[in-house]
């Protein structure tokens, strides 16, 4: 994999030809539209479902809407329920963000030194360490999840935030180390050496030279880890034992009984998409595709 700077280069020099579709065959044009519809299309009926009150077979639109039904209802319906304390939505959103944030901090902090060593030093057993860091991609989550749950039950960490944060480190640390290793590989040691020659100590060099230079890379790795953490279901569900609810576990509880998608589940589905959409807007701007792919094991 080539070493690429993380920040996107300015695209001012590129000719912008928005309305030319050179080389796109009619089938490719159809295919791109198909992909866009397959990705975004389902959001429309989900929105409709979240605002429905009565939506029976075979109607394509609800016959009674939540807006009308809520006037006469004695209990919170649809979005009223979603945003009421009964749904545990606030709690789940806060937990998702809190756990994601703490996992990001801990994960980046412990991955930075490891990545630096892996990028710059040669030592015996290095290829073994690199292989070991890839294995969490391949070992099934469910095996790790059940094993860790048993350990945490004995340690009294099952159902606790600490337990969940520790569990989230298992899939995220290997990601972070891979992304950060490529960051350090792209950073020449010249500037640090110059700082040392000019009399800066190791800590000063780290603080004033190394960290500012790799900061964009740290942000990229951090966003990545946050994204992975907010998407984790299995480890949270197993280790959390239903006591710590996050957006994915909340949605699981709503839809695991099967059947049709009720308005409340549709609403929670839409809310669960929001962190991903926000992160997509941020990462598309700041992280190059190659680096992004690398984080995912590419």
């Amino acid at each position: 994999m080539s070493q690429t700077p993380l920040a996107k280069p300015a695209e001012s020099g590129k000719p912008r030809r928005l309305f030319s579709a050179e080389g796109l065959s009619p089938f490719q044009r159809f295919y791109l539209i198909f992909v866009a519809v397959a990705v975004l299309g389902p959001i429309i009926p989900t929105l409709i479902a979240s605002f429905a009150f009565r939506w029976a077979w075979p109607d394509l639109l609800p016959t009674e809407w939540w807006i009308d039904a809520r006037q006469t209802a004695t209990t919170p319906l649809g979005w009223d329920y979603v945003f009421s304390p009964f749904s545990r939505l606030y709690e789940a959103t806060l937990n998702t963000l809190l756990i994601g944030g703490l996992v990001t901090l801990v994960c980046v902090a412990i991955s930075l030194p490891a990545a630096r060593v892996l990028a710059r030093e040669r030592f015996r057993g290095k290829s073994g360490v690199e292989f070991f860091l890839l294995t969490p991609l391949i070992v099934p989550d469910v095996a790790v999840g059940l094993g860790i749950l048993l350990i945490f039950i004995q340690l009294g960490l099952a159902g606790s935030y600490t337990g969940i944060i520790l569990a989230h480190l298992i899939p995220t640390v290997p990601y972070a180390i891979r992304v950060l290793t490529s960051v350090f590989q792209g950073l020449s040691t010249d500037f640090e050496e110059q700082a040392r020659v000019l009399g800066a100590g190791p800590l000063k060099t780290l603080w004033y030279v190394t960290l500012p230079m790799i900061f964009p890379g740290i942000v990229a790795a951090g966003l990545f880890v946050f994204l992975v953490s907010t998407n984790i279901f299995l480890l949270t569900f197993f280790v959390g034992r239903g006591q710590v609810e996050t957006l994915p576990t909340l949605l699981f509880t709503r839809i695991s009984s099967g059947g049709v998608l009720d308005p409340i589940s549709a609403g929670i589905t839409l809310i669960t998409m929001i962190p991903g959409i926000v992160l997509l807007l941020i990462t598309e701007r700041f992280i190059r595709d190659e680096v992004f792919a690398k984080g995912f094991g590419g």
Binding site: Q28, V39, P42, P140, I148, L150, T269, G298
Partner: protein, 307 residues
């Protein structure tokens, strides 16, 4: 992930002072400790339990193969293995084909390409459970697609719509996997294609190859390492995936991860050891399949004289 180039001799590992070695160890320690204690620890613990070591439930029959024997003779177990394999493999292959075509198309210039780069990545960023929700809404028997077919007069009632969810056909499960994973695979392939540049393909075209020949003999071999890595990751993920088959699968026998969880969740604690036997078997099969896959690929490349 590029394979290490074996033609370049590795520089010797430098001789180091004790302080230097200690520094390397200290910097690797925090991350390694977390992974070794939590990840390796939990795997070892799972394996030990599967062989009968569980003092917390007052069970210590170590070493016994009782739970494995029970597993292999459970009716429906081998069907469970088959479903796990089948639901993992089909979306990997179908998703790969869709992704290769999407990645190739993305290299072209087209209107609103910048916007499309956002759109196609959306499924990558959100939990599988969202995909499951959307699939329920669209593909259930009374879902949006069945209703649309009714609206155009192709269906009279929901029972005429094929049962795609909550069924052993696993179509709903595979739809979720493909929806979530095509962006992932496309992203990997597209970034490799960007790195390669169009030169070798242009040369091939100049030398008279048609588009199919160029793809088959020039492009595909160059993206093959990325295809192997990507499909290995996706297959392994699907093989160990829990929530999708749990919700959209067809009841007993379901895939191995679901059966393991059910055993674990049983009121009878001794069933937990059975669950551990299932996940140990699952990890072992997953590891062996991936090893064979990569071994087979390396041998193929050697035969072609490529590596």
């Amino acid at each position: 992930m590029a394979a290490p180039d074996q033609t370049i001799a590795k520089p010797a590992v430098p001789r180091r002072s004790w302080a230097g070695r200690l520094r390397i160890l200290a910097m690797l320690a925090p991350a390694s400790l977390v992974l070794v204690v939590l990840y390796v620890g939990s795997l070892i613990y799972a394996v030990l339990q599967s062989f009968g070591y569980a003092p917390i439930y007052q069970i210590n029959e170590f070493p016994t193969t009782r739970y494995y024997q029970e597993m292999f003779t459970t009716p429906g177990f081998w069907r469970s293995v088959w479903y796990t394999f089948y639901y993992a493999l089909v979306p990997t292959v179908v998703g790969l084909i869709l992704s290769i075509y999407l990645a190739l198309t993305l290299r072209k210039r087209f209107p609103a390409k910048g916007l499309f780069q956002y759109v196609y990545k959306l499924p990558l960023m959100i939990p599988y459970l969202v995909g499951i929700s959307l699939t329920i809404l669209l593909f259930s028997n009374g879902g949006i697609i069945a209703r649309s077919l009714h609206a155009v007069g192709l269906l009279d009632n929901p029972s005429q719509f094929p049962r795609l969810l909550y069924d052993h056909s696993g179509v709903g499960i595979m739809i979720v996997y493909i929806w979530k994973q095509v962006p992932f695979m496309t992203l990997i392939l597209y970034s490799v294609l960007l790195g390669l540049g169009p030169e070798s393909e242009e040369a091939s075209a100049t030398l008279g190859a048609n588009r199919w020949q160029t793809f088959w003999h020039v492009t595909l071999p160059q993206i093959m390492p990325a295809i192997i890595t990507g499909t290995a990751i996706i297959f392994a993920f699907n093989f160990g995936s829990f929530e999708t088959p749990y919700i959209l699968g067809g009841g007993f026998p379901n895939t191995l991860p679901v059966e393991a969880w059910r055993a674990f969740d049983d009121a009878d604690y001794s069933r937990r050891l059975y669950g551990m036997a299932v996940v140990t078997f699952l990890s072992l099969v997953s590891g062996v399949l991936l090893y064979l896959y990569i071994y087979w690929y390396r041998r193929f490349e050697r035969q072609r004289g490529r590596s």
